[in-house]
């Protein structure tokens, strides 16, 4: 609904909207079903840290709740602008002052991919802004990471969430993932981290490939290479400016080649397509003449990976105690709901049409009005339809439900095997 989308979100009214949103739309029940994991482990819900960010950036850490209704009530009365989820501790986090030995016991493995990390390759927007063109970076990142986590590590319960403005989060909720120590998390993050940043403001991100390419990298290449032309050449027109060409040249770690390329580029039309085909052609001809240095053997593939391979904020994944914004929060700046999305259809997800909290409120009102007019008996029918079903949030709630159904199956079946074992003794 593009027209409705134009409805401007006004950050000053956030508290008013949130009050209604938490009361009528926030999926409290499902949220609890997720975070309590069927109560399959001791203290898994009661020892979980939540933190609320209130109006004016007041930050309340170490909140914990005894049950669903306590959590729900607290959210509805405090009306936090942001809810973060932390680790499950060995004791109730709200008692953290009296317990010096509080330490995290488990925590979903999380990944955070932020559009700003792509600022050196995207030309369409920068910093906090995002458009459909940039979303393609996210969509690729999501596919690469999602496949690796499922195929290589055997994780099944992945929840992908749009972060409300310019990034995406992934929550890996399998039991093994939740119980990883920080070394394990670090190893997985490093496994997925292929590109290396130069560590300075003017350096470029790089990837180095060798003859033997790990299957995860080959797989990433099959995802990335077919999209390179569309994203980098057409959408971003990445080499259409002198600074873009400069960045491309910087990735070539050889001075003579760099000079030769520079000369070649000077006589090529300065659009991305010609520059890129000159670039590829140059190295191809070098290869045919077998003059290509071994360190530049895979330069074309390296450039492609460097520009499109997912750029993770691995410090987020490494820690067992990192707080991350909960799904279904409302982003305080954009008013957009942090909705889950289907990783298989990430390319079809449109961050521009993610419902804002004010739009949702309007939808509810409209729906109620319509049904009321049609039915003439205003009280029952309209009230019976659950509120979220009346709005454009419906789809993401369905995705969330599907995720919950699967994870509940797995925790249930585990619970059964545990009790079976107990019977034996």
């Amino acid at each position: 609904m593009p027209e409705a989308q134009k409805e401007q979100f006004n950050a000053n009214q956030l508290s008013d909207y949130l009050k209604l949103y938490y009361k009528r739309l926030f999926p409290h029940k499902q949220f609890y079903r997720w975070i309590s994991y069927n109560l399959s482990e001791d203290g898994i819900f009661t020892n979980r840290e939540f933190s609320f960010t209130m109006e004016d950036d007041i930050y309340i850490r170490y909140l914990s709740f005894e049950n669903q209704s306590e959590l729900e009530n607290d959210i509805c009365t405090k009306i936090p602008h942001k809810i973060d989820i932390g680790a499950v501790f060995n004791t109730r986090p709200k008692n953290h002052r009296s317990n010096a030995n509080m330490k995290p016991i488990q925590r979903e493995l999380v990944f955070d991919i932020d559009m700003t990390d792509y600022d050196d390759v995207r030309t369409c927007c920068n910093e906090a802004n995002i458009c459909n063109k940039c979303w393609k970076f996210m969509s690729i990142a999501c596919k690469v990471i999602d496949t690796a986590l499922r195929e290589d590590f055997g994780f099944e319960h992945l929840l992908w969430v749009f972060s409300g403005r310019r990034g995406i989060h992934c929550w890996v909720c399998d039991k093994t993932a939740r119980h990883l120590d920080s070394k394990g998390r670090g190893a997985i993050a490093d496994y997925l981290q292929v590109s290396m940043s130069g560590g300075g403001e003017n350096t470029v991100t790089k990837v180095t490939l060798y003859d033997k390419q790990h299957h995860s990298i080959r797989r990433a290449r099959t995802i990335i290479e077919p999209c390179f032309n569309e994203i980098i050449i057409e959408d971003q027109d990445a080499f259409g400016s002198p600074s873009g060409i400069d960045k491309l040249l910087k990735m070539v770690n050889d001075e003579t080649c760099r000079k030769e390329l520079q000369n070649l580029f000077a006589s090529t039309a300065s659009d991305s397509k010609s520059i890129w085909s000159t670039f590829v052609g140059y190295f191809e001809s070098m290869r045919v003449k077998s003059q290509l240095k071994s360190k530049l053997k895979y330069i074309v593939e390296e450039v492609q990976l460097a520009m499109l391979y997912p750029r993770l904020d691995i410090n987020v994944s490494r820690g067992t105690n990192h707080l991350l914004k909960a799904p279904f929060c409302v982003h305080p700046k954009t008013g957009k709901v942090c909705v889950p999305f289907n990783p298989n259809l990430a390319h079809k997800f449109d961050p521009m049409t993610v419902p804002t909290v004010n739009l949702l409120m309007k939808e509810i009102d409209e729906f109620d009005q319509k049904t009321n007019e049609a039915l003439e008996t205003p009280d029952d029918k309209a009230a019976k339809v659950k509120d979220f079903k009346k709005t454009s949030m419906f789809k993401s709630t369905v995705i969330f439900e599907e995720f919950l159904r699967k994870i509940e199956q797995s925790t249930k079946s585990k619970a059964i095997t545990v009790s079976d074992k107990r019977m034996e003794f």
């Binding site: 490093d190 496994y191 940043s197 790990h214 299957h215 410090n315």
Partner: protein, 554 residues
């Protein structure tokens, strides 16, 4: 797995004093069960010193030849061990054996490891150093085992690994080939949970499928090594808990505490000797900063911002060279508020700086990053941190160094070290060129780099280091060392007392100041009261006068 269960068993008192077969059944051993028998104080100390020598040799080898298990690396260690008279360690790293000599050697190895745990459990930095060295030793030992000895080892510790069948191998043939070296037909592969081979996972050196890693027998040491490391890590932490009890015995404290300071050098947590004004940082950054810090400093000056890792890396370094907390806050505030509101800085960044100085959060007085830490840091995009010799490519490095005015020869040396992966050597060469001098000790801490530079430039005094010379073999020498250690211990205690004194003094001053203020306030209050009283008195008097005058008039 049975094997992990075993590790949890706390050994009951063993009646058999020397049941070395049970504690250390193989020359390449896990250190699982702590010793239960008595060791004389003299043996205790001898063993500690011997193992330290061994670990020192390993460290030197790895600094000289960064590729561990390379031939030069092995040769260096064996030569050094022989020269130091530690032949029994040489025996242990040459495969398994069961002779009396082997058992004797195992006993020393086993005991000395547990003794050093006490010296190395007390801080994260020390633990990391110790674990790195112990892992080098283990890898060395394991690498010289024959395949039969490996089999023995696996059986002995009941680890229950079996290679996969050819059929299974064929299913994932291509993938295996991509992630291993050599002909896969002749190599056995083991299928294990990926959690057991995190090192291989991290470097993408094994094929992964559905949470299982396919590991070639060449890489098998990584799995075993992983177990080994876990035992030591856990062991160190449980030793840490024992420490308070242990520290009641002053004889042992003298040995243990002296050991790590005399051998490992400083951790630079707080610099008490220097006070570096922030106005001098620009000047210092040119000559006394290592490249990693200079890059942070310049980037901060230029962009008025550093991302998280950069702030940690540089902030802790500043603390280490002697910038006070107040100066530090002022420095960062002045720079960063060129791009942001003061309010935002105070809200979001000042915390981090106070945190570095141990004034927030867990209140740990954080140690400045060492080279090992910096090299292993992988900065995110636009995050200025990490080791430039590792992160920058040769062309960039070259142009940067040339722009600093280094002579071309030196630039060439630095770049070539860096491109071969010898980052610390590159940094050392950079130091030599900047200071036009020789640097024998190498670089392993940015704050050490800074201190050396200051010493060379004559700004700081050389510190007296009582490093025991490595040739102390006779008793007298050892006695000397022990005396030194005790002195060292006393000195440390003195410092501690002094610290407390300083602290008390500070508190006292603070309270005094407060008192002064209060007095001032009180006097002022009284004064005001007096004045008010006087004024009202005056009014009153006046009134009175008026009244009386009026009365008079009347």
């Amino acid at each position: 797995m049975d094997f992990t269960k075993r590790s949890r068993i706390k050994l009951l008192k063993s009646p058999d004093e020397d049941s070395i077969d049970r504690f250390a059944p193989h020359n390449c051993m896990f250190y699982i069960l702590p010793p239960q028998n008595d060791v004389s104080l003299k043996d205790f100390e001898d063993l500690a010193i011997e193992r330290l020598k061994l670990l020192r040799i390993l460290e030197q080898a790895s600094l000289k030849y960064p590729k561990i298990l390379s031939d030069e690396w092995k040769e260096f260690i064996i030569n050094e061990l022989n020269a130091e008279g530690l032949k029994y360690f040489v025996r242990l790293i040459k495969g398994n054996g069961n002779s009396e000599q082997d058992k004797h050697a195992r006993r020393r190895d086993y005991l000395s490891h547990f003794i050093l745990r006490f010296a190395y459990c007390r801080s994260e930095e020390l633990r990391r150093w110790f674990i790195t060295r112990e892992m080098e030793l283990f890898k060395f030992k394991f690498s010289s085992l024959s395949s039969n000895e490996i089999k023995d080892f696996i059986e002995l510790y009941e680890m229950g690994y079996r290679p996969i069948t050819d059929e299974q191998k064929n299913e994932v043939r291509q993938e295996l080939q991509c992630s291993s070296t050599g002909n896969i037909d002749t190599i056995d592969f083991y299928k294990v949970n990926f959690l057991q081979v995190l090192d291989l996972v991290r470097q993408r050196k094994c094929f992964l499928k559905g949470g299982f890693a396919y590991v070639s027998s060449n890489d098998f040491s990584s799995i075993i090594g992983g177990h080994h490391q876990q035992f030591i890590e856990k062991g160190l932490l449980s030793h840490l808990k024992l420490l308070p009890e242990f520290e009641n015995d002053e004889r042992i404290v003298g040995i243990i505490k002296g050991l790590h300071t005399s051998y490992v050098g400083k951790d630079y947590t707080v610099n008490k000797d220097a006070d570096v004004p922030i106005e001098s940082l620009d000047q210092l950054s040119l000559k006394s900063y290592p490249l990693c810090m200079r890059m942070c400093h310049e980037s901060l000056r230029k962009t008025h911002h550093l991302k998280h890792s950069g702030r940690l890396q540089y902030g802790l370094f500043l603390k280490g060279i002697g910038v006070s907390l107040e100066d530090s806050l002022r420095f960062w505030r002045e720079e960063m508020t060129k791009n942001m509101e003061v309010d935002k800085f105070d809200k979001s960044y000042a915390y981090g700086i106070r945190y570095n100085y141990g004034k927030e959060g867990s209140r740990t007085n954080w140690t400045p990053w060492s080279c090992a830490k910096i090299i292993s840091t992988a900065p995110g995009a636009q995050d200025v941190a990490g080791c430039p010799f590792k992160l920058w490519d040769s062309i960039e490095l070259k142009s940067k160094l040339t722009s600093f005015g280094l002579n071309p020869m030196a630039v060439q040396d630095v770049v070539s070290y860096a491109s071969k992966g010898h980052f610390q050597l590159a940094c050392g060469r950079y130091f030599e060129s900047v200071h036009e001098t020789r640097l024998d000790e190498g670089v392993n801490h940015p704050n050490g780099y800074f201190e050396n530079s200051q010493i060379i430039m004559g700004n700081r005094q050389t510190k007296e280091k009582n490093k025991p010379s490595s040739q102390q073999s006779n008793f007298n020498h050892r006695k000397q060392v022990q005396m030194n250690k005790q002195q060292e211990f006393k000195r440390k205690m003195d410092i501690k007392i002094k610290e407390e004194k300083d602290f008390d003094e500070e508190l006292w001053k603070l309270s005094q100041r407060e008192e002064e203020l209060l007095n001032e306030w009180n006097t002022r209050q009284e004064q005001t009261k007096k004045e008010v009283a006087e004024i009202s008195q005056m009014d009153w008097n006046d009134d009175d006068e008026d009244m009386s005058q009026i009365n008079n008039y009347l």
